[in-house]
């Protein structure tokens, strides 16, 4: 807090010719991305992999090939919903890092429920009910961190992470013991038939989950920037004490933030099952949530900009999965890129503030 103030005062006393705001923002966002790719390339070089060949392959498989781009666009759906979940939380100053647990449990419950419901309900109704169910399960998995944060002041980073570790194991318990498909030897839930899943867009293999994701992130963006409720949340995020003085019920808003954020993460799990997977295998955990964190930071919690970065990341991750099979570079490489990206992002922000403050 103090450093923020200091910087603001320095900014006021030593103005400097500024780049255009748009150019500055673009440089701030793209600079770290390019630098992260270069540093990641160095890591590949050390491992004896030609980085240029790797990146070319990734772009070919994730962006340029017809199947690749369709997989990329399909992958965006859960990532966008998770990004929406994080934007609500981060703008309100709440570190919901439990997205993976909320996502996974939403997915498992939906995977268990959908094949059973389809025997009694029409397909569209199953999809609607299951999405609501996924969101509800996600929200339920955040109740404990929400209450602890709102009424006991317990740090939510720790509690949400603990709920994720707990949730990953619990999801496995559910898949192996409670919801296991008796018809197969591998431990997995029953499978929702392709015909009953979320419809595909036009003549492609792209899941309509993409539309849900885009709508969700734009809705969240409008809610946070254009509504009174969003303003309240942002006040809580900017300064809790000011929010209390303004008469806002901070504990209640905190619980509301957790509920919205976690249900979006749970919805992401539902959409991934209803649109792509159809079932949950034991030990399945894509762990999307933490990798989306740098993307929403890059976009500065701005909805439309997030869509662009999620697209970029999807290309990298779909192409990376191809590269894992063909070039022998495991997908862990994207984690390295994400880590580097987060650090460079902070660094770019620091350099920008110092430049605007009039240099050292």
């Amino acid at each position: 807090m103090t450093s923020e103030l200091a910087r603001k005062r320095m900014t006021a006393s030593a103005p400097r010719p500024d780049l255009g705001p748009l150019a500055r923002r673009a440089a701030l966002a793209l600079g770290p991305v390019l630098a992260a790719l270069v540093l990641g390339g160095l890591v590949l070089l050390v491992l004896g992999v030609n980085p240029i060949a790797y990146y070319v392959f990734v772009v070919e498989r994730g962006l340029l090939s017809p199947t690749g781009i369709q997989a990329t666009l399909t992958r965006m759906a859960p990532l966008l919903l998770i990004a929406a979940s994080l934007i609500v939380a981060f703008r309100a100053g709440i570190w919901n890092l439990g997205g993976d647990g909320q996502f996974l449990l939403g997915a498992v419950v939906v995977a268990a429920a959908a094949p059973l419901l389809i025997q009694h309900l029409p397909s569209w109704a199953v999809l609607v009910v299951c999405m609501a169910l996924g969101a509800l399960v996600g929200a339920v998995w955040s109740v404990l961190p929400a209450l602890l944060k709102a009424y006991q002041g317990v740090n939510e980073i720790i509690t949400t992470l603990m709920m994720t570790f707990l949730g990953v194991s619990f999801a496995n318990v559910l898949v192996k013991l409670a919801f296991r498909d008796p018809g197969t030897t591998v431990p997995q839930t029953r499978t929702l038939e392709v015909a009953d899943r979320l419809p595909r867009l036009f003549e492609t293999t792209i899941s309509s989950g993409l539309v849900i994701g885009i709508v969700a992130i734009l809705a969240v963006h409008v809610m946070m920037t254009r509504t009174a409720f969003g303003l309240k949340l942002r006040i809580v995020g900017a300064n809790t004490r000011a929010a209390v003085h303004a008469g806002l019920s901070v504990p209640r808003l905190t619980v509301a933030v957790f509920a919205i954020s976690a249900s979006l993460a749970g919805l992401a799990g539902a959409v991934e099952i209803l649109g792509v997977q159809g079932n949950v295998r034991a030990d399945w955990n894509p762990a999307y949530s933490l990798t989306v964190v740098p993307l929403v930071f890059l976009a500065r919690f701005n909805g439309p900009a997030t869509i662009a970065f999620v697209f970029l990341f999807s290309v990298l991750s779909i192409g990376g999965e191809s590269a894992a099979r063909r070039m022998g570079v495991p997908n862990f490489f994207t984690l390295v890129i994400v880590g580097i990206l987060l650090i460079l992002l902070g660094l770019a922000e620091y350099l920008d503030q110092r430049r605007r403050a009039g240099g050292p």
Binding site: S3, L5, L47, S169, K176, T291, L342, G346, L347
Partner: protein, 311 residues
């Protein structure tokens, strides 16, 4: 149920609690030092993983577990130095950098392990233990506590040393002030940045050693993502111990017992799915946070960057 409390079961339980608890204890102790000085160290999981990997690698190629422990600590410190540079010197968000270091370390160790060993998981030789004459002959606690690798005795000594530093030295006072009221420390002529940098590096050393212990003593192998939340449990331990190192040790042994319950129950012939057992430590953490959450305490200046002269 009577079979539960046999000598073999109790020995296995305490033995496992110590083996699983020591890395948690080292992480918690390290986190406590950082937090005391006002730095919330979320990157501790990454420090442990890098420590585990470098420790394993060096022990594997040199055959010396001590060189392994040494390099594991250095590896942890290397990650911590990034944290010190970005968070303590430049004042970047401790949470963002912490997440970044953890993710980066997860990816990097898994990647390096893949290129080094592909899908194989070579095993280290079992670490030799040092029996303490007399005590090691006791039933149950003898083999579980007093006939163990010497690094365990050293780790427990670290708790005593930290407690002494906190309570009786100027350094302990400086650490406390850096977290409670950094401006006062600055006014007293002590460099806040230096104190915090030292604290973060010590955290890295302890976390790296904890990771190396996990790989060399606990598992005997390195598996990607093997720390599996131990660093985060360490953070909880530090939060709940409220600045007292001894509590970290006790808490760590308790969680260690949860983690090792699988093996002990298998010895006793009780069959519980491993996924259920894996939930135990995290469920325990949450239960404790529900009960004692209000009493968990953190220093006032935790998480905020110190800028000289800023109000």
């Amino acid at each position: 149920m009577s079979a539960l409390f046999t000598e073999a079961f109790l020995t296995a339980l305490i033995l496992g609690a110590v083996t699983a608890g020591i890395p948690l204890m080292l992480a918690g102790l390290g986190e406590q030092i950082s937090e005391k000085a006002g730095v919330l160290n979320i990157g501790i999981e990454g420090m442990m993983l890098i420590g585990a990997y470098t420790g394993f690698l060096v022990a594997y190629f040199t055959g010396s577990i001590w060189l392994g422990f040494f390099s594991g600590s250095l590896g942890g410190m290397a990650v911590a130095s990034l944290m010190a540079l970005f968070c303590v010197r430049l004042g970047l968000s401790q949470i963002v950098i912490g997440i970044a270091l953890t993710l980066g370390a997860e990816g990097l160790t898994a990647l390096l392990h893949h290129f080094q060993f592909s899908q194989s998981y070579p095993r280290l030789e079992a670490v030799e233990s040092l029996a303490i004459p007399g005590l090691s002959a006791l039933p149950v606690i003898g083999p579980a506590l007093f006939d163990r690798p010497p690094i365990i005795y050293l780790a427990i000594a670290a708790v005593a040393v930290t407690a002494w530093v906190f309570r009786s030295t100027n350094l302990g006072l400086a650490l406390q002030a850096a977290g409670d009221k950094p401006a006062a420390l600055d006014a007293a002529g002590v460099d806040v940045i230096a104190v915090r940098t030292g604290a973060v590096l010590t955290t890295g050393l302890l976390a790296g050693l904890g990771g190396a212990f996990m790989a060399e003593v606990g598992a005997g192998i390195f598996v990607p993502f093997m720390t599996n939340g131990a660093g985060f449990i360490g953070i909880v331990l530090a939060m709940l111990a409220r600045g007292r190192p001894l509590w970290v040790l006790l808490g760590a042994l308790l969680f260690g017992a949860c983690l090792s319950a699988t093996t002990a129950l298998q010895v006793a012939g009780v069959d519980i799915p491993t996924d259920v057992i894996q939930m135990l430590p995290f469920a325990a953490v949450l239960a404790i946070l529900v009960v004692f959450g209000r009493r968990a305490s953190l220093p006032p200046a935790l998480g905020s960057h110190y800028v000289r002269g800023a109000r």
